[in-house]
């Protein structure tokens, strides 16, 4: 739940309404993604309908090739569905223009990619503050937010390093910092801990949990890692682009 007493209102963060207990963060309906290719088309996501409540902490598990990355890309508007619809913050992504989609991503969605995907010409600090800069936040505030976050996830003192001079774990932490620092309403993370040692993975998960708990940020992430699945409030199993099971392990993050 979003702690409204500690929430700092970000005037540039778009129309983020305080969610009620049953507010919907993401919804899909009859979603298909078919990759046309030889010899046969690949159905990466098949007729998938689901709903994620605001403030939820959802893990998507499934074997490699089950469609996790494709689904996250569909939810973030990075890929257009072959059929079906996706709503994020009540808006139908399939009806938004490129410009509106870009704006929605900037103000509403944070991404963490499996491949880190930092910008190599920018320092760790510049990478982390990138979306804040695009949103026009003043320098002092940007730096302060990133420094606080860096301290928390053990990136202290690495602010000026470029990605080429950071370890994989450090890069992934910068990538997570970049996604969360603007406190978007929704964060989509593709195997965020897959390339990290368990201690670092735990620390990152801790940051994500805290944001979820304190700020009500909705998280949807894919994972292979049983320990990550254990900490999810809702666990969705994908097989061949379909939801095979969708459970809410008892006692965790129940919002009902």
């Amino acid at each position: 739940m979003r702690g409204s007493d500690t929430h700092v209102t970000d005037p540039t963060a778009g129309d983020r309404t305080t969610p009620g207990p049953s507010a919907t963060a993401v919804r899909t309906e009859g979603l298909w993604k078919i990759y046309e290719q030889e010899p046969a088309p690949v159905e990466a996501v098949r007729d998938l309908s689901m709903e994620v409540r605001a403030g939820d902490f959802v893990a998507m598990a499934g074997p490699s090739g089950s469609g996790k990355t494709t689904l996250l890309n569909l939810l973030g508007g990075l890929t257009a569905p072959t059929r079906g619809r996706v709503w994020v913050a009540g808006r139908d992504l399939t009806e938004l223009s490129g410009r509106e989609l870009a704006r929605l991503r900037l103000e509403h969605i944070g991404f963490v990619f499996q491949a880190y995907n930092l910008l190599p010409v920018l320092s760790a600090m510049e990478n982390a503050e990138f979306t804040l800069l695009l949103r026009g936040l003043p320098t002092a505030e940007r730096r302060e937010r990133v420094r606080t976050l860096f301290r928390e996830i053990g990136l202290d003192g690495l602010e000026d390093r470029r990605p080429g001079r950071l370890s994989g774990g450090q890069q992934q932490r910068v990538a997570v910092a970049r996604a969360v620092v603007g406190e978007p309403a929704l964060i989509l993370a593709d195997e965020p801990t897959a390339n990290l040692d368990s201690a670092t993975g735990d620390a990152l998960l801790g940051v994500m949990e805290r944001l979820n708990h304190e700020r009500g940020v909705t998280f949807i992430f894919s994972t292979h890692d049983p320990r990550v699945m254990e900490r999810a409030h809702r666990l969705v199993h994908l097989v061949d682009g379909r939801i095979e099971s969708d459970v809410r392990p008892s006692g965790r993050g129940s919002t009902a």
């Binding site: 890309n73 870009a102 991503r105 491949a115 910008l119 695009l134």
Partner: protein
């Protein structure tokens, strides 16, 4: 908005610097191209100016004033009478205040025959003012025997070496000139060879005789008359202004509207077309050069886009629009072209300046007597700086940078974001 532009510019700049080696390579292609261009242009302009200057010295100056029909008939009937000659000379004197005039010369030219006791040949006889003509045509410097005409001469002649040979003339030989006089009758004039010249141009060496203008006037019965008043300017660039200035002065002054003012382009169209053809060749060269440079830039920017698809995918995932992503690429192309352009023009100017100080001696290339349009050309070329040419070159660079960046920009805006971001790519 400003914040976004700043960060896009920062990305362009850092990316250009990151690919320092490729950027430097592309930039040097452009720099060398531009330097060559600036230099070639300055040398070309210098050579042309020389052709023109040499051409007009033996011809009728940058600007010439004559009677209306003379250009087509070349006949003594179409001459300037003394009143119009005086008006033309006043106009030149007035022009000096606003246009750099080197000198002017009054000529009375007719076609006729030159006869020695043995034979006779058709010639062009130029009645000239000895002092002024020497400064104008520099024909005195082509003397191989005797001396040039002097102001005190009366029955003296300065003849081409070829003509002297064929007529068996030597210094002091007597020579009879025959032409149709003003009255219509045939007039004869006896002169003595005082000097012989050789320009290397057959037409001139075999067919030109210069005599004092006073002698010519008496011979032809045309006191105070002239067929042309020619003006030599410091630079051919002044031709237009001189033309306008003289026309204005002749139009409003002394009522001498029977004077036609012509430029060297009209009097020597072959000289003009030689310059134009050479210019065309230059522009063709320039187009080829810039096509090569454009391809180099295109290749560099395109490769850098294709190698960085992941980064552009990230930019879009983070909330940049496709247009803004394209702007980063476009900025890189323009930056590359702009930097190279500045360096290229600077290098070109520096090289030209060095050449300008020392001159470019092409005598080894051309040998001694090159002739064009009846003029002997000096094989040492002095390049000419023209600010307009630098602006022209810089303009080309900007255009090239923009054109060469358009396609890579388009490619960057069409990247499949999800594909670009794949983990295992």
């Amino acid at each position: 908005m400003m914040a976004r532009l700043r960060i896009l510019a920062r990305l362009s700049l850092r990316n250009t610097l990151r690919q320092a080696r490729r950027s430097a390579l592309t930039a040097s292609a452009m720099v060398v191209g531009l330097a060559l261009l600036t230099m070639a242009r300055a040398i070309g302009d210098g050579a042309h100016e020389q052709w023109i200057s040499d051409g007009v010295r033996l011809g009728l100056g940058h600007v010439t004033m004559e009677a209306p029909g003379f250009a087509s008939t070349g006949s003594l009937d179409d001459r300037l009478d003394s009143a119009r000659v005086a008006a033309a000379e006043r106009a030149v004197a007035g022009l000096r205040a606003s246009v750099p005039v080197v000198t002017s010369a009054v000529d009375l030219t007719v076609s006729g025959l030159a006869s020695s006791p043995g034979s006779s040949l058709p010639v062009r006889v130029e009645g000239v003012e000895p002092g002024a003509e020497a400064a104008f045509s520099k024909l005195d410097e082509r003397r191989v025997e005797g001396r040039y005409l002097e102001p005190s001469d009366r029955l003296a002649a300065y003849v081409g070496a070829g003509l002297a040979d064929r007529l068996g003339l030597e210094l002091g030989s007597r020579l009879v000139l025959t032409a149709q006089g003003a009255s219509g009758g045939v007039a004869e004039q006896l002169v003595r060879v005082r000097g012989v010249f050789r320009t290397g141009i057959p037409d001139v060496d075999d067919g030109l005789v210069q005599i004092p203008i006073a002698t010519a006037r008496r011979w032809l019965g045309t006191p105070g008359a002239a067929t042309s008043v020619a003006v030599l300017l410091r630079s051919s660039q002044e031709t237009g202004r001189a033309l306008d200035g003289l026309r204005a002065r002749l139009g409003t002054g002394g009522g001498a509207d029977g004077v036609t003012v012509l430029s060297w382009r009209q009097v020597s169209p072959e000289l003009e077309s030689a310059v134009r053809i050479d210019d065309f060749g230059f522009y063709a060269f320039m187009v080829v050069l810039f096509a090569i440079v454009a391809l180099a830039v295109l290749n560099a920017v395109l490769m850098s886009v294709l190698n960085r698809r992941r980064e552009f995918g990230v930019l879009e995932a983070l909330g940049l629009t496709r247009g803004q992503t394209g702007a980063v690429v476009f900025g890189e192309g323009v930056l590359l072209a702009g930097l190279s352009g500045v360096l290229g023009v600077a290098l070109g100017l520096a090289t030209t300046w060095l050449l300008w100080r020392h001159g470019l001696d092409l005598s080894a290339l051309y040998g001694q007597g090159i002739s064009l349009s009846g003029a002997v050309i000096d094989p040492v070329i002095v390049p000419i700086f023209r600010p307009a040419r630098v602006v022209e070159a810089a303009g080309f660079v900007v255009v090239i940078g923009i054109l060469a960046s358009l396609y890579p920009t388009r490619v960057a805006t069409r990247i499949d974001v999800a594909e670009a971001l794949k983990f295992d790519r």
